[in-house]
Each structure stands twice: as structure tokens, then as C-alpha cells.
Symmetry: C2
């Protein structure tokens, strides 16, 4: 094949350790040792080899090196919430973009590569999947097969949000969901709400269950009966619109707290189309900020998570885990509440 116009194979042919050895007039072992600071070589040979390697622009092939059991300098990121969504369309899934961006910058700043991997349990398995040094799994759900798979293969991992049903597993980081929930609920109460309905998703992840728990206990504290609605994440804005009808039929609460921005936007839209004033009659708040909460009219108050802080913490934990240490975990970050028009009275 013409070397100038194409490539015989997907893999680029670079300078090998053999080339360096020949050029430096030593054995490949010498090169390997010199470059990895192992073995016993005279300072002179070591330096000489290093120079030759540099001159030639030699870079060890990660694949070959990896085969001999070493670290790849790359961690995987698997987005369970998106896997669950079925497609990978990110529109409106703010957390997704934010978290990926944050995790990427955190990883890059640490000199690590970050590999985004499609659902590990669906075949064909992404070829490099099992070659990563470790994994970040976002929002694992109860009995998550990806987590099980990583466990089985002995690959270190950390999770964004605790793994439900596994209280013993400490290697996670997340915003303080309970605190977040109270932040919103107290805000609504301060603005005069007595009865608050909660709209949670159906995914069995910590995010949903923690918020629900905080909500029920908040209601209990105030002697209020909880009004809990479940709406599938994938139902999106439309699902919220439909749900608004049911909520109204059940009797209007003073406020509705939706965990996702899309549900919040939908519920608000649905309420208003029934002639319910927002925020006048009912206030609306979202548990995670997105284009939908920002773009709605009125704009919707929402929690902004801390993906930068969380992903940084996760990478810290993961790095020590890979290094064989015992990191302190979990690590908790804080969300911030943006008060917008939908709760302004």
C-alpha cells in the first residue's frame, strides 16, 4: 500500500523499542530499563539511551505495554442515566454535559485520559472497555449490571451518587442530596408554601431515593402528608405536562418540586395551560438546573449541582484506588439554589 496516501491497518506504525536499541547499540532490555528507571544500568548508558530515544521520538506502545500489566493512564466514564434513557441525545440533559465536561477537565488536568464508554453490558462490548485503569460510573441504580460487571472483573471504580443497596461500598462522591432537598423545601416554605408535592423519577438510583427520603422526613417534621408522584425520566417535558393534570385533579398543592428540569418545565407548562398561576397560585422548583428550567417562562428556580467538585473528588478517590491505597470516601459536595421567577412571590 502506498505509504503516502493511506494506511494498511488502523494502527500506526511507530518507532519500536527495537529500533531504539539498535540505534543506541544496546539490548531492548537496556532500553526498557533505562526508560522505566528499573534494573541496574550505569548512569552513562541510561543517559545515552534516553537521548537516543528522545531524538527518535520514541514513545512506548501502550497496547504492548498494557499487555504486560501496567497502567494505561486512562479511566473510563460510563453514564448510567443516559444508558437508561435509551438514546444518547443530550438535549436538555444538562447534568450530562456538565458532568462530562467537568470530569474531562479534571482528568486532563491530572494528566489522565478520560474515555467515554457506551453501556458496558450491551454487546458488542466496547473493545477497550476492560483495559481501562478504572471507572467512574454515574448514577448507578439498584443491582446495576455495570457495577456488577466491574466488580466481577476486578476493575476499580467509583460512583457519582452512592450505589443503592450497597451501603458498604464507600467509593463514591456526590452532592448532599438530602441537604439539597431541604434547601429547596425550606425555600418554598419561606415563600409561603405549606403543601409541597414531589415529582421524582423512576430510576432506582440514589438521587431519586435520597431526595424522596429527605422529602418525606421534611413533611413528617411539619406534620404534613407527603404528596409523592413518580414520573419516568424519559417521559420528559411531555410527561410533566400530563402529570400536571393529575396533580391538579388531586387538588393543587402550594408548590411542586420536580427532581428533573424537564419534568419541572412540563409540570409548569401543564399547570399554566389549565389556568393555574405560577408562581401566584403554585410555585415550581427543579432539582437539577438545565436549559429547560432556565428557558421556561417564568424561569424556574433550580438546584445547580457541583459537577466540578464531585468529579474532582471522584478522580482523587479513583486514583488512590488504582494506586492500591485506601482513600477516604465518600466525599460530599454542595448544590446551590438559583432562585428564579417560578418561586418569587
Amino acid at each position: 500500500m502506498d505509504e503516502r496516501t493511506g494506511r494498511e491497518v488502523a494502527r500506526a506504525q511507530g518507532i519500536t523499542i527495537k529500533d531504539v536499541a539498535r540505534r543506541a547499540g544496546v539490548s531492548i532490555t537496556a532500553v526498557s530499563h533505562a526508560l522505566n528507571g528499573k534494573g541496574t544500568l550505569s548512569a552513562a548508558t541510561r543517559a545515552h539511551i534516553r537521548e537516543t530515544a528522545d531524538e527518535m521520538g520514541y514513545a512506548a506502545d501502550a497496547l504492548a505495554r498494557g499487555m504486560r500489566s501496567s497502567t494505561m493512564g486512562a479511566v473510563g466514564l460510563v453514564l448510567r442515566s443516559l444508558d437508561a434513557l435509551g438514546d444518547y441525545k443530550p438535549e436538555g440533559v444538562d447534568v450530562f454535559e456538565k458532568f462530562v465536561g467537568a470530569a474531562a477537565s479534571q482528568a486532563l488536568a491530572r494528566g489522565l485520559s478520560l474515555m467515554l464508554v457506551p453501556d458496558l453490558t450491551r454487546s458488542p462490548v466496547p473493545p477497550l472497555a476492560f483495559s481501562m485503569d478504572g471507572y467512574i460510573v454515574t448514577n448507578p441504580h439498584r443491582d446495576d449490571p455495570v457495577v456488577a460487571l466491574l466488580d466481577r472483573r476486578g476493575i476499580p471504580y467509583v460512583t457519582y451518587g452512592s450505589a443503592p443497596g450497597r451501603p458498604d461500598f464507600p467509593y463514591w462522591a456526590s452532592e448532599d442530596d438530602a441537604a439539597s432537598a431541604r434547601l429547596v423545601l425550606d425555600h418554598l416554605a419561606a415563600r409561603g408554601a405549606r403543601t409541597v408535592a414531589l415529582v421524582r423519577g423512576t430510576d432506582a438510583n440514589a438521587w431519586n431515593s435520597e431526595h424522596e427520603a429527605a422529602y418525606t422526613s421534611w413533611c413528617a417534621d411539619r406534620g404534613l402528608p407527603p404528596r409523592l408522584y413518580e414520573l419516568a425520566e424519559r417521559a420528559g417535558v411531555e410527561g410533566g405536562v400530563d402529570l400536571a393534570r393529575r396533580i391538579a385533579a388531586d387538588g393543587l398543592p402550594d408548590a411542586v418540586f420536580c427532581l428533573t428540569g424537564r419534568h419541572a418545565a412540563g409540570v409548569q407548562e401543564g399547570l399554566m395551560s389549565q389556568g393555574v398561576e405560577v408562581p401566584g397560585r403554585v410555585m415550581v422548583a427543579a432539582g437539577s438546573d438545565s436549559e429547560h428550567s432556565r428557558g421556561a417562562r417564568p424561569t424556574i428556580s433550580a438546584l445547580e449541582l457541583d459537577p466540578v467538585g464531585s468529579s474532582g473528588a471522584l478522580l482523587d478517590i479513583l486514583q488512590s484506588l488504582i494506586a492500591g491505597e485506601r482513600p477516604t470516601a465518600p466525599r460530599i459536595t454542595q448544590a446551590h439554589l438559583w432562585e428564579r421567577a417560578s418561586t418569587k412571590r
Copy 2:
């Protein structure tokens, strides 16, 4: 080392082709052929081997397979604009998050893994860097060393934004920068601006030069002298604030068009702090939307790029390139102008 509690090495030890061969009572060649649909095997053996492999949960090791020259099912993404920025803090670098998110979802939807790689030319080189099937390089600049490196190693790549100084290189996609610029300029003119100053960045990428070219020709068409300012991307909001002083000293234009959201926010802030009314006296617009343009007061009109469309196009091109085809390229997408308070008269 205890097999149950830890791992000897970073690499997980899975089921190998040997195990399958032994269990199925055939040679490893047979297994390889059966699983890859190569060679000549009887349908019976083939089926039998497939079954055994499935039962055992066998998955070929990508590293070993990769060594024998095949495809990794993963493409790399290298963000030149961020590399240039020096750190990988994404705050306010909307395009970054948006593009990464979009590229990720596009890649995942195609069953490809996407690996974010730190600057390829800085050592230590990310180990897996040269093992990717191909690369997306965002905003390459003139004589970009990363592009040169990929060329040298014969690794296929596509660029987000054309590669300056390489008009012959067709494998890129981007918004139509010239059209974007005219969109903004015409909008400003329609709102009554006669003189418009342009604030571009200093990176030698297509984004900056295309916008500048469109701007100068727009000015020429109207017989106006161009007023061009250059401000380093990394100068951020503060740089914009400082620049506002210079712009005012040079005589206020009717509008300022800043290519980055941070510069726009800074310039607007700087102008207002000098008592210049925005949009009353001077209008401000940004060439790329971000928290900064949305969050400024008044909110700043800005172009929203099409990262989803662009990254989709890029992956299409890259995939055919990897497959050894000759894709049609370049592919152009369109930006959208959000008209906000900063240009509302």
C-alpha cells in the same frame, strides 16, 4: 495476592481465548476464526465455539487484539483551544462542555467510545494516544503540532474548524463562520449601528481568521474603516474590561462584536463602568454563547453554535476515513443568533 480482595496488577485477568479453546475442545485458531467469521470452519464447530464462548462470557482482549492491527472502536478527542488555555478549567468555556457533550453522545450513539486526550505533544504522551482509530481535533491552529504529529504517524483525523494554512485538507466540519459573522453584523446594523468594532482572539485558528475576514469584507462593502482589536483568549473577562478602556479612548463605536463570551462580558462591564450605556450608546454581541453572555446584565446577544450537528458530521467523516473510504467533506453547519438585551433598542 488474595484473588478476592485485590488485584495484582492494573489489568483485570479475564477469560482468554485459550480457556475457550480448551473448554470447546478445539484449537485457539478455531476459536479466533469462529468468533471473527474468518477461515473455513464447519457450521457445527462454529456454533459450538460461539456457544461455549458466550457461556464463559468471553470477550477478546482489546489490547492483544489491537497489537495485531485491528480497530479499537474508539476515537480520540483533543481540544486545542483548551490546551492553549493552559489549564483545563472549563468555567465559562461553554463551547468546550457543549462540544464534548455533543461529540460524546454522537460517538456513543454510533457505538464508539470517545477518549478525551490531553495535549498529545506534551510529554508524557498519554499512553493510549497512538492506539486510537482516529482523532477529532478541535480548532487546530496554524502549523498545529498535534495535527503534524497525527499526520506523521498516519493516524486519520478530522478537525472542528478548518486547519489554517492547509486549504488542501478537506476533512473538517464547522459552522459557517463567515455567515455567522454576517448574521451578527447585519443584526447590529439593523438595530442602527454604523460603526462596529471586532474583538477577536489571538489563537491562529480558523474561527478567528474567518470571522475577521468576514468582518473586514463587511466593512469594506459599506465603506467603513474596520476597527479590529486582538485580545488573548486567556485574558478572559478581565482582559475585556481593560480593553473597554482602550476602545473608549479610541472613540466609541456603535457596537462591539466580541468573538468570545468572556471578552464580550468583560467589554460590556468595562464600558458600563465608564458610564457608557449598553445597549443605549453601544451595543455588544458575542460570537459564542456561554454562561458569561447569558449571565451578564444586560444579557448579551450571542451566536449559539451547532456542536451536535458539527460533531455528528465529524464522526461521519472520521468513520469513513477509518474505513478507508473517501468521505465528502468539508461539512458546514449553521449557527443561531440569540438576540438579547445588549442589542435591543
